[in-house]
């Protein structure tokens, strides 16, 4: 875990001229739920593409082989922490083999929306042994930089509630009364597996409404995950960016750091 450089690409760079001019880069964005990661990854991607870099993005739980199992698992009876942990690692491993490594080998920049650290944080928060979890992920590619978008769990709850209200209002405004109940029942995961033509309906309802106890347990879990991230900050040398700043400001800081990385400054 101490090795900072992307190893495979490094050793091949001298031999293969096609990637010698540009080092492959794996850039990771981490942070608790609602820290703005996904928004920032998209903005970063657009910016890098505009600079004529070749970019591949990869997000947690998107391996076609595994995401389906995870969706089913989440909608069915509760699975045990070990099972969850291993299924998420299967997702990560599959994306490593099919998305991340091939893209890096092609000399592209890979932007990862969540990486192994998400698993470390969540699995530890669920009571699993961190050393065991890290072993499971032993074969991951080492990122060149890990940005940690820091927000407090309290901020996450505020953002979550605001998001819920916003979605609810959009629902009431945009949809015929008969469809509202149905749309609200759909979970984030069920939505993802839908056919594209349903997107118009599901766009406005991706999060289940949390209140009372559910909101409390959301907060408790975010607290635990947050504590894990805080600890990992030092262990893994995260580059910390304050995520409660305006989107533009966060993005500007990210771009500066990424530019320094790409230009080897």
């Amino acid at each position: 875990m101490a090795e900072k450089q992307y190893q495979t690409g490094q050793s091949e760079a001298g031999l293969s001229p096609k990637i010698a001019s540009k080092q492959p880069r794996l850039i990771v964005l981490e942070g608790i739920d609602l820290s703005g990661r996904t928004t920032q990854v998209q903005l970063l991607r657009d910016w890098l593409l505009a600079q004529r870099y070749r970019v591949t993005t990869t997000a947690w739980r998107t391996s076609p082989l595994i995401s389906d199992i995870l969706v089913r698992a989440r909608n069915g009876p509760m699975l045990r922490p070990l099972t969850y942990s291993l299924l998420y690692s299967a997702d990560h491993f599959d994306r490593t083999q099919r998305v991340i490594k091939p893209a890096l080998d092609r000399g592209e920049i890979v932007l990862a929306d969540r990486y192994t650290y998400t698993a470390f944080a969540r699995d530890s928060a669920r009571g699993l042994d961190p050393a065991w979890v890290q072993n499971v992920y032993r074969y991951s590619v080492q990122p060149d930089i890990v940005f940690y978008l820091h927000i407090s769990p309290a901020e996450a709850v505020i953002r979550r509630v605001a998001l819920q209200q916003q979605r609810l209002q959009t629902l009431h405004k945009d949809m015929p009364a008969g469809k509202q109940g149905k749309a609200r029942k759909e979970t984030k995961d069920a939505k993802k597996s839908r056919k594209p033509e349903r997107a118009a309906v599901t766009l406005v309802s991706p999060i289940p409404a949390l209140a009372g106890e559910a909101l409390e347990s959301f907060y408790d879990f975010e607290m635990k995950v947050y504590a894990e991230y805080q600890q990992m900050q030092k262990t893994f040398g995260f580059t910390v960016i304050e995520g409660s700043q305006p989107i533009d400001q966060v993005q500007a800081m990210l771009r500066r750091a990424v530019m320094r990385l790409l230009l080897n400054i």
Partner: protein
């Protein structure tokens, strides 16, 4: 659960002994080695003796079947990915069924346990240290029995039971041969090698049983071994 995981304290051994009131008896060995028959007989006997018995199997659950099918369709499945999926499947059985049974004092009869899972992964070329660490959450059996037969005997007995060899059972994902029978034999040979290595490195974790003995003889030897590990009334 996590507090009981301890990967350092036991040196070169693989699984770590448990302290639950129940007992765990694991039967390992190649396909067709007669494990299931012997476990059935053990189960009747133990139940007649008044023990609560839980029987488990190492078969792919619905959870991962879709992924396995998809991998088969693609004609390739990364061995490590296959390992992780199998481990996830086993973890669910372990935490849901095996662990609670051990905690309430039942006798668990595992028709294949971690050793077979790991032997199969090793036969597919997965890194030993990594996969052993992955399975380290599981308790060491109080009695682990290795039903010994060779690859040809395994093939012969398996073919007499099943009309067709299954894709992963025959190790077809490895591309050893287009012929399922040849593939099965080569795959079993590798698994056999992996079992032998385990017995060599941690002999106290797996006892060898000659699975060519008669059903009766095997059962007698088994009961003797099981009696030694049963909780004292």
């Amino acid at each position: 659960m996590s507090a009981e995981m301890n990967t350092q304290a036991y040196g070169s051994s693989f699984l770590i002994p448990h302290t639950y009131p129940g007992r765990l008896i694991a039967a390992e060995g190649l396909d067709g080695s007669g494990k299931s028959t012997q476990l059935h007989l053990l189960q009747f006997w133990l139940q007649a003796e008044g023990y609560e018995v839980l029987s488990t199997e190492l078969t792919a659950s619905k959870l991962i079947k879709r992924a396995l099918k998809a991998g088969k369709k693609q004609g390739s499945m990364d061995p490590m990915l296959l390992s992780i999926l199998h481990a996830a499947d086993f973890a669910e059985i372990y935490e849901r069924d095996i662990l609670p049974a051990l905690q309430r004092g039942a006798v668990v009869l595992a028709d294949r346990y971690v050793y077979t899972a790991v032997a199969r992964d090793l036969a597919r070329g997965v890194d030993r240290a990594w996969i052993e660490d992955v399975y380290r959450f599981a308790a060491r059996p109080d009695l682990g029995i290795y039903f010994q037969i060779d690859a040809d005997q395994s093939l012969e007995r398996t073919l007499s039971h099943h009309t067709r060899l299954k894709y992963y059972q025959a190790g077809m994902d490895l591309g050893l041969s287009h012929n399922p029978i040849d593939s099965f034999r080569a795959f079993q040979q590798r698994i056999l090698h992996a079992y032998e290595h385990m017995i060599d490195t941690a002999p106290y974790e797996l006892l060898r049983l000659d699975a060519m003995l008669s059903v009766k003889q095997q059962q007698r030897l088994l009961r003797e071994a099981v009696e030694k590990v049963l909780p004292n009334e």
